[in-house]
């Protein structure tokens, strides 16, 4: 379904073609008809959303304009605290929880006038990329409900792709925004580490967790990102001229294991950018083969202490697979965690070096398209790869290093399943990455 973009919404509400209440009701109707087959929402906040949409319309009528997100219905991954509502993290471990205050990101969205439509499904505690392990059942792909929407922000991506919200708020610890964005055919932005506060968000790894938006377009991601930053002065998105852009492609490791159709989509996108005048060269991350082990030791070391008490007192409340992985995490030795932190610094320097002289790195987002729910492994280049490993393979590096990264739709497989193109920018320059991404989006959408 074609979802109204935030920019279209902003134009139409100000010209009185639509109202916040009217668009909200359309989203609620989509939820009523589509969510039974997609399971994207853990709960819908219809009453609160109607109240907030009415207020948004009244404020505009009274001349109070909160900016581009004013009146926009947005879904929220159920890791974020919203005052007086449960934050389930898709786990029965959290049964009975009610948030006493808004997460920082939620408070900023409210100040920007967003209408919070409900809390979306996710992989339990965001500790997985398939969304299969959720206390509330798996979220499903809008184009084919037998397939996963990716994860961990899978319910969020499904809610956006199915037109149940105009945008959605997610988190990304190893790719949990970018993976479902790529698999569901939306834009997903992981800003620079620390740029958006994670206070009031159930943590997976406080050193890897990032907060960011999933949207229909790069321009929408720009508006959403600036609202999350709490910016009150609006700055325009300025799509970069492709002829002036230089891209590096880290082919070794990152293009070694790709589904043939994902590879074709990626190479077609690279060809299109080159034809449009971009300069593109291969670059290298010399220690790329250590990315997965560094990631595992950091995320395990960070997650274990948060879950230790609950694993002792209420282990049966976890889904079995997440419980086992968290139990495994408790066995990581301090010396190996520290080795991983040392490795993180090495990788950070290598990504900085790879970006030197380039505006962004270009690589696919996920090596495979949407996969059938229940799939354990996938065959690539003659080897059986676990789904979890392969889905994280191209995204987790930039959680380790903190570089901003964005996934854009870049074509579809012969079965009509979306593929994602990932752009990675310089740390602290998320705005610049968005300018570049907007230029790339123009080329790819022709």
């Amino acid at each position: 379904m074609k979802t109204l973009t935030i920019e279209e919404f902003a134009r139409q509400i100000r010209s009185k073609q639509i109202t916040a209440v009217g668009v909200l009701e359309q989203c609620l109707e989509r939820i009523r008809t589509e969510d039974p087959r997609l399971n994207a929402f853990i709960f819908v906040m219809a009453d609160e959303a109607r109240r907030d949409a009415r207020r948004a319309d009244e404020e505009l009528d009274a001349g109070l304009d909160r900016g581009p997100l004013h009146g926009v219905p947005i879904s929220i991954k159920d890791l974020f605290d919203i005052t007086d509502t449960p934050t389930t993290a898709a786990s029965h471990v959290r049964d009975g929880h009610v948030a006493g205050s808004d997460a920082v990101a939620i408070a900023r969205l409210r100040r920007a006038g967003a209408v919070l439509i409900g809390k979306t499904n996710l992989h339990e505690f965001a500790f997985g990329t398939t969304n299969e392990d959720s206390a509330y059942g798996p979220a499903r792909h809008p184009l084919d409900p037998t397939r996963s929407p990716g994860g961990s922000s899978g319910g969020s991506a499904a809610s956006l792709a199915a037109g149940m919200a105009l945008a959605t708020l997610g988190t990304d610890t190893g790719g949990s925004i970018r993976i479902p964005a790529a698999i569901c055919g939306t834009v997903g932005l992981k800003p620079t580490y620390g740029e958006i506060p994670a206070e009031g968000v159930v943590p997976l790894s406080r050193t890897l967790d990032h907060v960011g938006p999933l949207t229909s377009t790069v321009a929408d991601a720009w508006h959403f990102f600036h609202a999350l930053r709490g910016d009150t002065v609006l700055r325009p998105l300025a799509p970069s001229a492709i002829r002036q852009l230089r891209f590096g492609i880290p082919r070794k490791y990152f293009c070694d294991l790709l589904d043939p159709e994902v590879r074709r989509s990626f190479e077609s996108s690279v060809d299109a950018l080159r034809s449009a005048g971009a300069t593109i060269h291969d670059v290298e991350i010399p220690n790329a083969r250590f990315i997965a082990t560094i990631y595992v030791h950091i995320v395990f070391g960070d997650a274990a202490p948060y879950h230790a008490a609950a694993l002792e007192t209420m282990p049966a409340r976890y889904t079995p697979a997440v419980r086992l992985r968290l139990e495994m995490a408790r066995y990581v030795l301090a010396e190996d965690y520290t080795r991983a932190l040392e490795g993180r610094e090495v990788l950070r320097r290598e990504v900085d070096a790879a970006l030197s002289g380039y505006d962004a790195l270009l690589l696919p987002t996920v090596p495979i398209p949407a996969f059938t729910i229940g799939t354990a492994t996938v065959d690539l280049n003659g080897s059986k790869e676990p789904i979890r490993n392969i889905t994280l393979r191209l995204t987790q590096l930039f959680n380790i290093t903190g570089h901003p990264a964005i996934s854009l739709p870049c074509g579809k497989t012969s079965q009509g399943l979306p593929c994602g193109l990932q752009l990675v920018g310089t740390r602290g320059q998320t705005d610049q990455l968005l300018h570049v991404a907007a230029g790339v989006e123009r080329v790819l959408s022709v």
Binding site: Y331, G343, V346
Partner: protein, 57 residues
């Protein structure tokens, strides 16, 4: 602690805690840790100087 010692201790502890199904996961983690240690990130107290380096001190 060597990885083999760690793995044996971890599997024994998991079994004692009624979690024998952790064994294959811990074996996978051991492989990952072996790779991590092979990288030598952060150096080691017994690192030998480069043979070509002048270490007359």
């Amino acid at each position: 602690m060597t990885i083999q010692d760690w793995l044996q201790a971890a599997i024994a502890d998991a079994e004692r805690r009624g979690l024998p199904e952790l064994k294959p996961l811990l074996e996978g983690l051991a492989q990952s840790t072996t790779l991590l240690r092979s990288a030598g990130f952060g150096g080691s107290a017994n690192d030998l100087p480069d043979p070509g380096e002048d270490f007359d001190h």
